[in-house]
Symmetry: C2
Subunit: 384 residues, 2 copies
C-alpha cells in the first residue's frame, strides 16, 4: 500500500445474549467507544465500512443501517460481506481506501445479532447450495477433524486442550460471552454435537459489535502516541464446495495459507512464530484452531495438537493464541468477530490487556476463516 | 487517489428473462467477455470485487460464488452490497485497492438473477424496516413524484418523455431487455402501478451480469491504447428511513448531490453539462431520471421536466442521458446495473457504440441511486 495506515481507536461491546439491545444499540455503543478511544467526534469520520453477514430483519442490509444507527449522514459507507471473514475484509477494504489517499480517517464497524432470529436463521438467509446438501457448519468442520484424527493419530483430548485454554483466557475477559473455565473432563463428557465435536468444541451463538478508527499513519500522531500500524493484510478465496474438488485435503485450509502468505509478505514476516508475539485465530471449533496453527505456519501440518499440548499457544507460551478467549468464549457474531479480534490485538499491543497481557508485544496477527474453509483474511498489526 | 486507475476491458451479457442461464453462466459470460476485451486470461487477475445485492438461493453470497463461477481460486475476492448502488460501489472499492498499489489488475463483476425467485423475493430477502411500513420501491418513488408534481406544476406527460427517449435509445441496443420503441400515448394509457407511475414508468425485472477489468494507469498501455481513466468516484449515504426526517424534501435526493459533488471535485469538473459528454443515470422510474438531472447539477431543481422536454438528454442533445436505453430498457438486476452502465460509458468513450454513438465524447458519468433514495454512487470516466 502507498501510505501506511494506523489504528487510532477501538471499541467493543459486551458480547452475549443481548436480547435487550437492538442492532442499532450495539452498533452505536461499539462506534462511540472507538470514537472516545480515538479522542474524536463522529464528524471526524470521512468514510465507513460495515461488516455484517446476515441482515436479518433488514438490520445490516446496506450502508443505511450504519448511517441510521450513528446518524452518520452524507458520507460514503460500504457494506462488505465475506462469510465469516466479513469483519476482517471490511477492515481490509477500509485500509486500502485510506492507503490510496482518498480518505484521512475511516470507521470500520462489525456487527451481528444472531440470537433473536428463528432457529436455522442463518441457513434460511443464505440458502447456500452446500446447505441443501445437508451440511451445517459443525458437520463440515467435523468431517475435516475426523480425517485429521485419522491421518495424524490425534484424539478428542487435543480438542479439549484448546477449549480449556481459550475458556481460561476468556475467564479473564469482562467482554466475553462466557467468562468461565472448563476442565478437560467437562469437555470430553459434554453432549455430542457432531463427532468429534462436543458442546465445548463449538463456539456459542452470540450478539455483539466492535469498531476501529483508522487513519493515514502520518496523521496518527495528532490523535495519540500509542497508535498501531497495519503491517500486512491478505485475503484468499477457494471453492465454496471444496468436497467436490478431488484435491481438497480435508486436514487444513488453503485459503488460510494463501492469505497469511500474502499478509506475511507485505509485513516482511519470514518466521511467524519468532516474529509474531500473539495471534487471534478463528476457533469456530476447537479443531479449527489446531489446523490454523499449521496453516498459519506456526508449526508443520500434523503438529498442531502438540503445539497446544505443550502450552505454546497459552498465555505464557512462546506464541499466545486467542488471549481474548477466542470465539470459544466470545461466540461468533459473524461480522463483529474479525473487528473484535483486531480490538484484542490493539489492546495487547498498547499494553492494556490487564490480566491477559502478553509481555511487551510488538507484532500481532488476526485471522478469520469463512464458509466451509473457503475464505480467509489475515491482518498483521504492529507497534509504531 | 495516489495512482490513477484505468479500465482496460469490459463485458456485458444480454439482459432479460434468462431462465435458461444460471447465475454462474451469467457471471462467467460477463467476465469472459471482459477478459477477451482486455486481451488477458483469468490468471492475470490479482483480486476481484463482486457486486450482488440479494443472494437468492445462495448465489451471490460471499466471494465464493464468484470464485466457483470463474474457477478463480486462491485470490482475494470481496463481495460488496449497497442497495441499488451495489455495482458502482464494488467498482469504487476495486479502484481504491488498485490506486493504493496493492494490486496491479482487478476484476469488478456485478450480477443478479431476479426472475426465478418467488414473488416478493427481494422483499423477503431484506425485510428492511421500511418494507414493514408497507412501502415498496414504486410506492416510495411515487410519493416523491407526486410531491414534485405539486411543487413544480409537472404532469405525467413529462414522465412519458423519459420513457419514450430511453426506449428509443434501447431499441438500438442488442443487449437491452426491451428493444422496442414506445409512444407517449402508450405510456399515458398503460396500466397504473402506483400513481403517477404507469407500467412504462417502471423498469422491468431482469437477469444480467456485467464486468470490468481495471489496472494501474501506468500499466494500461501494455494492454491497449484506448483505455479509459477513472477520473472521479463519490459515494454518499443518507437515512434508510428518510420520511421520518422532517427535513426530507421529497423532490430529490441529497445522496446524489453529495456523491456527485465528491466525484466532480476529484475529477475537476466544475460545470457538468459543459464538461461531461454523456451520462448513464439511475432511471428506476421515469421521474427518478428527472430528479437525477437536477441532483447531478445538469439543471436547477424543478427544471428537469424542461430538460427532457427540450430534448437535451436525448441522443443528439447537449447532454445525452441513458444512451444505452437505461434501466427502462435494461431492467435493474441490482448488482449488475452499475457495472453495465460503466460498460456503456466505456463503449461510448471508445467510439464503439454504433447507432447509439455520441460524437467524440471525452468524459462520461455513471450514477446509481439505492434504497429509498438513501445511497448514491457516482463514477466519472474519461478518455486517456
Amino acid at each position: 500500500m502507498k501510505d501506511q495506515v494506523a489504528i487510532i481507536g477501538v471499541g467493543c461491546t459486551k458480547f452475549g445474549d443481548q436480547f435487550d439491545q437492538s442492532y442499532e444499540d450495539l452498533v452505536f455503543d461499539a462506534a462511540q467507544a472507538a470514537f472516545v478511544d480515538a479522542g474524536i467526534q463522529a464528524d471526524r469520520i470521512d468514510a465507513a465500512w460495515l461488516g455484517t453477514y446476515s441482515p436479518y430483519g433488514g438490520h445490516g442490509k446496506a450502508s443505511v443501517s450504519l448511517a441510521d444507527a450513528l446518524r452518520l449522514y452524507g458520507k460514503p459507507i460500504t457494506r462488505v460481506e465475506n462469510f465469516c471473514a466479513t469483519g476482517t475484509d471490511a477492515f481490509r477494504n477500509a485500509a486500502m481506501a485510506v492507503a490510496c489517499g482518498m480518505y484521512d480517517v475511516a470507521l470500520v464497524l462489525g456487527a451481528e445479532k444472531l440470537k433473536n432470529r428463528p432457529t436455522r436463521g442463518l441457513s434460511r438467509e443464505g440458502e447456500h447450495p452446500y446447505q441443501t446438501d445437508g451440511l451445517t457448519a459443525p458437520g463440515i468442520f467435523a468431517m475435516a477433524a475426523n480425517r485429521y484424527f485419522h491421518d495424524f493419530n490425534v484424539g478428542r483430548e487435543s480438542l479439549a486442550k484448546v477449549a480449556v485454554k481459550n475458556h481460561k483466557h476468556g475467564s479473564q475477559n469482562p467482554k466475553a460471552h462466557f467468562q468461565m473455565e472448563v476442565s478437560e473432563e467437562q469437555c470430553l463428557n459434554a453432549p455430542m454435537v457432531a463427532w468429534p465435536f462436543g458442546l465445548f468444541d463449538c463456539c456459542p451463538t452470540t450478539d455483539g459489535a466492535a469498531a476501529a478508527v483508522i487513519c493515514r499513519a502520518d496523521l496518527a500522531k495528532t490523535f495519540r502516541d500509542d497508535y498501531v500500524l497495519v503491517k500486512g493484510v491478505g485475503l484468499a478465496v477457494t471453492s465454496g464446495r471444496p468436497w467436490y474438488d478431488p484435491s481438497f485435503e480435508y486436514v487444513g485450509f488453503a485459503a488460510t495459507r494463501h492469505a497469511s502468505q500474502a499478509a506475511y509478505k507485505m509485513a516482511g514476516v519470514h518466521d511467524p512464530v519468532k516474529e509474531i508475539d500473539l495471534a487471534e485465530v478463528h476457533d469456530c471449533f476447537t479443531w479449527t484452531e489446531i489446523s490454523n496453527y499449521e496453516d498459519l505456519g506456526f508449526c508443520r501440518k500434523g503438529e498442531g495438537a502438540h503445539f497446544v499440548g505443550e502450552g505454546r499457544s497459552a498465555l505464557g507460551g512462546d506464541m499466545p493464541v486467542n488471549t481474548s478467549g477466542g470465539l470459544k468464549s466470545f461466540g461468533h457474531p459473524i461480522g463483529a468477530s474479525g473487528v473484535r479480534m483486531i480490538y484484542e490485538v490493539v489492546t495487547q499491543l498498547r499494553g492494556q490487556a490487564g490480566a491477559r497481557q502478553v509481555k511487551s508485544p510488538e507484532l500481532g496477527l488476526v485471522h478469520n476463516l469463512g464458509g466451509p474453509g473457503s475464505v480467509a483474511c489475515v491482518v498483521v498489526l504492529g507497534t509504531a
